[in-house]
Symmetry: C2
């Protein structure tokens, strides 16, 4: 999608990936070209992650020390080092509005000892990130709570972060394979450990029902590739749940993806057309399905905000769950 | 690109491929869904080719007889038959506004005997296409002159087509590998063999200088994949000639593709950005470069029409050739 079309769906913030951008085209190149806002033609706020997550999931030959993480690029094998100081510097070069502390995303399955050591390393890195960030009026620094699935570790992490003081507080180390039930169990206690007067940000979430459940538990912000990645792979979100456009049941269907939706994909195209261009690997498939999914997510978030404002969130959540459980409309 | 954005560049007609659409999603399916205009959300005219060109260039195990061409799909190997009657039927099912006669595109390198036999077969098929088309008010049937690089065969072909009578006359069998000089040599005589009061349509052309040279020789219409295919592969057309965005010289270049251009790619993005998203294989690369190229082609065609209207085409052609020969701007 073009950035102006993303903005028109209602998006206020986009996320830039430190790991990807430091490797290509490099933070220094983007800075030389006037920063990421100008480079990518996005005038609204940009949040950047710290690079920590992708270093662990994408990079090769990682070596983690107290100083940081040395790794090789998954693109060309070149060697790089990310430290709290370098991550903050990269995010400054990009011109990020909301900067994330460099942390280690504790992997799913870590036992309590491993989760504790990982969390304490991230807390020392949070302090170094805070010092490296300094004071930058108009820019925010968010920290990231870790501690795996262990309430005592989450509490210790929150206490350490509050003692340092940040503009916002993320919850990290979730949505890494633990499943929705385990994630919700952590969210039943983790958000309230963080300051109520600051944004509480759940990183890397998620499906529509993950979002509604997270908001119910006190989350204010999320980020996820799901609307756009799903758009490219044919998964479509509607008020009756998800569907996959590649399924043969759509090939003669003259109806829109979602009869309640006002996005360009639903206003102008049938399921039959969207099925055809997906199967034919036409770029317009990814364009239209991503547009629809981002539109759906924005409508969902607006409905959530409205429900909270009106004191009707519980009723909203019940109606949402009932609608989603209907499943897709019957085939033609 | 979305159809509404293609229309906004100034495009009045798009071309639909009979071969591709008959195989997937099939002409009958598109007819059942209300026709190609509705299916693809394009309200302006649609010209459809006859399928003859792609059958010869893409299909497997072709067998050509007087009746038509039997072939196997390049997608799934299924067997199909295209005849003049079936091609016209498919184009009717699609809802085409400008229908092309089914012909054999004589391959480059054919000797005079082969070109004559191929041309005469296409002329018999043109007659069958005319009979199959019947009278369809508001819809046009165009025929296709063949005859390879041989003036006498082109004359015989033109005479046979004029005797049948069509709404427009295409010149086929060019832009198939013969090179610009050989093509222009044919265009020095072929267009004037066709009625002056009907559109003369050069199929499958071309680069900007091919178009200007063809118009100079009497051509009114052309079609080509070049603006969009080049957009996907990184070739960019500007008033100073073509450039390739993947070249490293662009990686730090803050300037637009073409300083004279008002398309979204040139208004909002640097060469450095477009280089980055091309190298990163982001879909936005193909989107923006296609948009730029289509915009460039529309501006070029408007300038050609204006020059003809003002009686200044010769001066236009000279200035165009001079500008194109400048080559791209110097690197930063």
């Amino acid at each position: 999608m073009l950035p102006e079309n993303v903005a028109a769906t209602g998006a206020d913030i986009v996320l830039g990936n430190t790991y990807h951008l430091m490797l290509r085209p490099t933070a220094e190149r983007i800075a030389g070209l006037g920063g990421l806002h100008k480079f990518m033609h996005w005038q609204r706020p940009i949040l950047t992650d710290s690079g920590g997550f992708q270093v662990m999931s994408l990079a090769k030959l990682r070596k983690l020390t107290e100083a940081g993480v040395k790794f090789r690029s998954h693109i060309d094998g070149s060697e790089h080092m990310l430290t709290p100081e370098r991550s903050i510097e990269i995010q400054r070069l990009l011109g990020s509005d909301i900067v994330m502390c460099f942390d280690e995303c504790t992997p799913f399955g870590a036992d309590e000892q491993a989760a504790m050591e990982s969390m304490r390393l991230s807390m020392r890195w949070a302090k170094r990130s805070r010092e490296a960030f300094g004071g930058r009026p108009g820019h925010a620094l968010f920290s990231i709570q870790q501690g795996g699935l262990f309430a005592e570790l989450r509490a210790e992490s929150a206490e350490k972060l509050r003692a340092i003081g940040f503009d916002g507080y993320a919850i990290g180390g979730l949505a890494v394979g633990e499943g929705q039930q385990a994630m919700f169990e952590v969210l039943d206690y983790a958000p309230e450990m963080l300051p109520a007067d600051r944004p509480r940000y759940l990183m890397g979430v998620g499906k529509p029902d993950d979002i509604v459940g997270a908001v119910a538990r006190g989350i204010d912000m999320m980020d996820c590739v799901l609307p756009s990645r799903s758009g490219r792979t044919g998964q479509v979100f509607t008020h009756r749940g998800a569907l996959n456009i590649k399924n043969t049941r759509h090939q003669n269907d003259p109806r829109p993806l979602d009869e309640h939706c006002t996005c360009p994909a639903c206003k102008n195209y049938s399921r039959a057309y969207l099925h055809h261009v997906f199967r034919s690997r036409e770029m317009i498939s990814g364009m239209l399905l991503t547009w629809h999914n981002l539109h759906y997510y924005q409508v969902l978030m607006q409905a959530i905000r409205d429900a909270i404002s009106n004191g009707q969130f519980a009723a909203f959540e019940k109606a949402f769950t009932q609608q989603q459980s209907q499943g897709d409309i019957d085939p033609v």
